[in-house]
Subunit: 139 residues, 2 copies
DNA sequence: TAATATTTTGCAACAATGTTGCTTTTTTCC
DNA sequence: GGAAAAAAGCAACATTGTTGCAAAATATTA
């Protein structure tokens, strides 16, 4: 487990540091997505805010995590399943925000649907965010 | 035109005030969506920041405008075409962000596609944001 | 392994964004 | 026109995000 973290960092040509290990382990140990605030809290006052910002940015650049926009204007981050190398994310899955527990999940099995745009528009990326109640909260 | 603005406000049981008329006219005169910052600038230093925040919130509550989440964490607002009464928005159209001119548009003619979720999940709302190049920028 | 080069961290200061309470002004309604 | 209600403006504050730089940690090379 701990080795896996180091592996991921090394594979992406990143120095292995305390903050990176800690933040990455948070992502690995949690199913849902994390907002910047969550990470600051969960990391336990141990790291400077600036470090968290920079670490997240580094992870996004390297394609380790990706950002999920949500309606409440708080960006959340989640691990990229496949290898999104060099910041070029190709996550064709949709995102789900549970209105009950507040968690955000990547539904990796649900593929982004086709969208027919009017003439003249060209598409580079499609982001689908579904709100509702998740599996756990529906029980 | 000016009367239309007053009409909209009155129809929603809102007092007719200078800031509301001004902000609403910005929305009516522009095709794309507006971010809070845009409005502050376009209103021409005339209104307090707090007033802009509160006016936008009021408009969202009344269903006059709706918020569009984007990847860069800046919420944009656009007029609701139909009457989304009492803050209960039913905008089933998709949103388009142009990477070239930066504008955000509501594509009212493009209906949100169906999304099949895994068992256990229930949907209350679907938000689709497409990034790419818009009609005007593709010319 | 020790010395050096590189990278990352933490700090401080700052900028931007958003919020709250309260007083003054404006609008509405009679 | 005057009273009641609503909104605007102001100040102060909280949160969030950014930048430059010195100190510390990590990686690299001999």
């Amino acid at each position: 487990m701990h080795e896996e973290i180091k592996d991921i960092l090394k594979r992406n040509n990143l120095s292995v540091t305390g903050s990176r290990e800690k933040i990455l382990s948070l992502f690995l140990s949690k199913a849902g997505a994390l907002a910047h605030g969550d990470i600051e809290k969960k990391a336990g006052e141990k790291f400077d805010r600036v470090t968290v910002y920079r670490t997240l940015q580094t992870f996004v650049d390297k394609g380790i995590i990706h950002a999920i926009p949500t309606a409440d204007n708080s960006i959340r981050y989640a691990l990229c399943k496949d290898d999104c190398s060099g910041g070029h994310h190709h996550d064709h899955h949709i995102h789900f925000v549970c209105n009950h527990c507040g968690n955000t999940y990547c539904l990796d099995d649900v593929v982004t649907p086709e969208v027919r745009l009017p003439n003249g528009y060209t598409t580079s990326q499609i982001e689908v965010v579904v709100e509702g109640t998740c599996k756990a909260c529906n029980k």
